[in-house]
């Protein structure tokens, strides 16, 4: 993993996100942040703490609870010369921004024949198991990956979060950036220096020979945990993190499966009609002649996320369920 090579310092996922924003706001005065309780409060997750103190209320702007409205303002501000970073507290509230993101932001460049641009980033969250119930636990990134004109980013480590967010802010297109709420306290190496990570380049988080675990966001850690357990059983698992679902690095994913001949796709969104379907279809097509077994899809159970802990815990893939599935596929 690139971390090993260059990193010196440890940051939490939240600190890495904040550092990326602070660095980009320093280098480009056009970057500003809109959202609910983003200023003094620094968001309920405290991800933005300190930014309003450094950049002022003119660039870190508290909004009313008007997701559709301030998302639209972000689109227009981007078209007119700024580089807004719009904060949608819970990914579940993206439902209120769909018209502005899909009918406006995603299409303005194309509909204008390439004349207008929408260099805007929407930062939001995904992920369950916070005991927040059905309206605060969804992972809706598949919807955006389905829409041409948008780019979709799913960082899984502090290192990736910083590098990908800086790339997102410099991109000339609308980018939706999903952060797993449960990863904000996760620590990881992040180098001091300036770096960015290109979109559409998957990252092999762990090399292996017997099976490929393609995993996004928090599921990367489930996959790594499962890989460690599998190793004890003599199964060598490779963990591939696409990092962006659009653009999607099909080659790295398919090449890995051609090597291992088995694949499990892990994503915290719903399994049906979601990210696991697309990636499984890409693998089934690209590695058709190399697969020893059908690609296994593991996403969120097809139910609204329940509040009750014992129920919520069975709705998402876990190291144990992944190990079990991998074992079966490898005939153990």
């Amino acid at each position: 993993m690139p971390e090993v090579a260059i990193a010196e310092r440890e940051l939490t996922f939240a600190q890495a996100v904040r550092e990326a924003l602070a660095e980009e706001m320093r280098r480009d005065s056009r970057v500003c942040i809109f959202g609910e309780d983003v200023a003094e409060a620094g968001t309920p997750f405290k991800v933005l703490s300190g930014l309003v103190e450094e950049f002022g209320a003119g660039r870190v702007i508290d909004t009313p609870i008007s997701e559709a409205g301030f998302t639209g303002v972000g689109v227009g501000a981007a078209m007119a010369g700024l580089r807004p970073v719009v904060d949608i507290m819970f990914g579940d509230f993206l439902t209120l921004t769909m018209d502005q993101m899909v009918n406006q932001a995603a299409k303005a460049h194309y509909m204008s024949g390439g004349h207008w641009r929408v260099p805007m980033v929407m930062r939001t969250t995904l992920g369950a198991t916070r005991r927040s119930a059905a309206q605060h636990s969804q992972s809706l990134h598949a919807w955006f990956s389905h829409v041409p004109g948008l780019k979709v980013v799913l960082p899984s480590t502090p290192y990736d979060a910083k590098g990908l967010l800086k790339t997102a802010i410099r991109d000339e297109n609308p980018v939706v950036f999903f952060e797993d709420k449960m990863m904000y306290k996760l620590k990881g190496r992040v180098p001091e220096g300036e770096y960015t990570i290109p979109f559409g380049v998957a990252n092999v988080k762990r090399a292996g020979e017997d099976i490929t675990l393609v995993a996004t966001s928090s599921m990367v850690h489930v996959a790594l945990g499962a890989a460690a357990l599998l190793e004890k059983e003599g199964v060598s698992a490779e963990v591939v993190d696409p990092r962006t679902t659009w653009p999607l690095d099909e080659k790295t994913i398919v090449d890995s499966v051609k090597k291992t001949s088995r694949a499990i796709v892990l994503d915290e969104g719903y399994g049906r009609y979601g990210v696991t379907a697309e990636i499984a279809a890409v693998i089934a097509e690209g590695a058709f002649y190399d697969l020893d077994a059908p690609v296994k899809r593991m996403g969120a159970m097809h139910v609204p996320i329940p509040f009750s802990p014992p129920l919520e815990d069975v709705t998402v893939p876990t190291e144990e369920t992944v190990v079990e599935a991998a074992r079966k596929m490898c005939g153990k």
Binding site: S132, H302, P304, P306, F307, P310, V314
Partner: protein, 334 residues
């Protein structure tokens, strides 16, 4: 169009209403005690997730629900325990829901932010700010179409004024003269931001512009709330159409139970002022005593009973079993 609620301390409002005003007192105390237990459960790490306490705002839910029939509808918010109790739900099943137990109102699937109870017309608490304005308006549409005489009350915080759908449905409700009451609980804060930083113009003007009957009321005065509620509910029942009520109030605790250090967005002094000078329970207690409807002992008994009731309810919930994991896939489709 816009009218303010007349003072409610007039003898007439009170005199022949001893039972009613004692009942509203009891209800407010029960809500306060319920929330005390919720905070207790949180601090003792017995409750999964977070909860948003209604303490300080009791007079709004109680004053309004006192004006409703059991089959009238309400929609509630993330800060919904008070609405739920005031409408008639029982605390044991509420606590069970807060703990994710099978005995809960939603079999543990909803939790604090989604308690619903068909038996008392509670269409459900909602974790989307403004998420229930359409539901309440639609319930009123159904009531009118079915001619069952019900009204729907839509509770929301002033933060929901930021949601455009509120204006869409107020327009529909007025065009169709629907029996729906929009109750804006203005407790001054949208999470950690003062409402003055998020609200341009006037609150009442926004409802009046769509032709709704619009009124403000002191949300710490249960009798004032009930008087105006009674009037606009009757008006709605008689085909007068929708109304909007701004109830000025205050939440005593944090935005949620985990919001402990609040000085960066509001002062201890401000909190103190509301708790000591504007407490709806104390104010109503004084009024009851002044009017000879109750003595200190009676009121003490009410508190003791409520506290005991809530402690027993918590015990029930703590001892209740979790749902079996196979229930996770049930109730997705009817």
């Amino acid at each position: 169009m816009t009218v303010a609620a007349s003072k409610s301390d007039s003898a007439h409002a009170a005199s022949d209403n001893k039972e009613k005003w004692l009942r509203t007192y009891r209800q407010m105390v029960r809500i306060r005690m319920f929330e005390e237990q919720v905070n207790e459960l949180y601090t003792r790490a017995l409750m999964p997730g977070l909860a948003h306490l209604y303490s300080g705002e009791e007079a709004v839910a109680v004053g309004i629900c006192e004006a409703l029939n059991v089959d009238d509808y309400i929609t509630s918010t993330h800060r919904g325990h008070g609405h739920c109790l005031a409408k008639g739900a029982s605390p044991d099943r509420m606590f069970a829901e807060l703990l994710g137990k099978e005995a809960g109102y939603c079999r543990g699937k909803g939790g604090s932010m989604h308690i619903a109870d068909p038996a008392t017309g509670n269409l459900g608490a909602n974790a989307i700010v403004g998420g229930s304005v359409g539901i309440a308006t639609g319930a009123a549409f159904a009531a009118k179409r079915l001619g069952n005489g019900r009204v729907a009350v839509c509770f929301f915080g002033e933060g929901a004024l930021g949601q455009g759908s509120l204006y869409e449905v107020m327009n529909l409700a007025q065009l169709w003269k629907l029996p729906v009451i929009y109750v804006c609980e203005n407790n001054l804060y949208n999470e950690y931001t003062h409402y003055s930083e998020t609200t341009a113009g006037t609150i009442l003007g926004r409802a009046a512009a769509f032709g709704l009957e619009a009124a403000t009321v002191d949300g710490q005065d249960v009798r004032a709330v009930n008087e105006v509620a009674t009037r606009i509910v009757e008006r709605a029942q008689n085909g007068g159409g929708p109304a909007f009520l701004q109830a000025d109030t205050y939440r005593y605790s944090g935005h949620h139970v985990g919001d402990i250090n609040r000085e960066y967005y509001r002062s201890k002094k401000e909190e103190q002022h509301w708790k000591t000078e504007r407490d709806p329970i104390q104010l109503h207690a004084k009024w009851l005593v002044d009017h000879g409807f109750a003595d200190a002992a009676t009121l003490e008994r009410v508190s003791a009973e409520a506290r005991a009731e809530m402690q027993a309810a918590v015990q029930f919930a703590v001892n209740a079993p979790y749902p079996s994991t196979d229930q996770v896939a049930q109730d997705v489709y009817a």
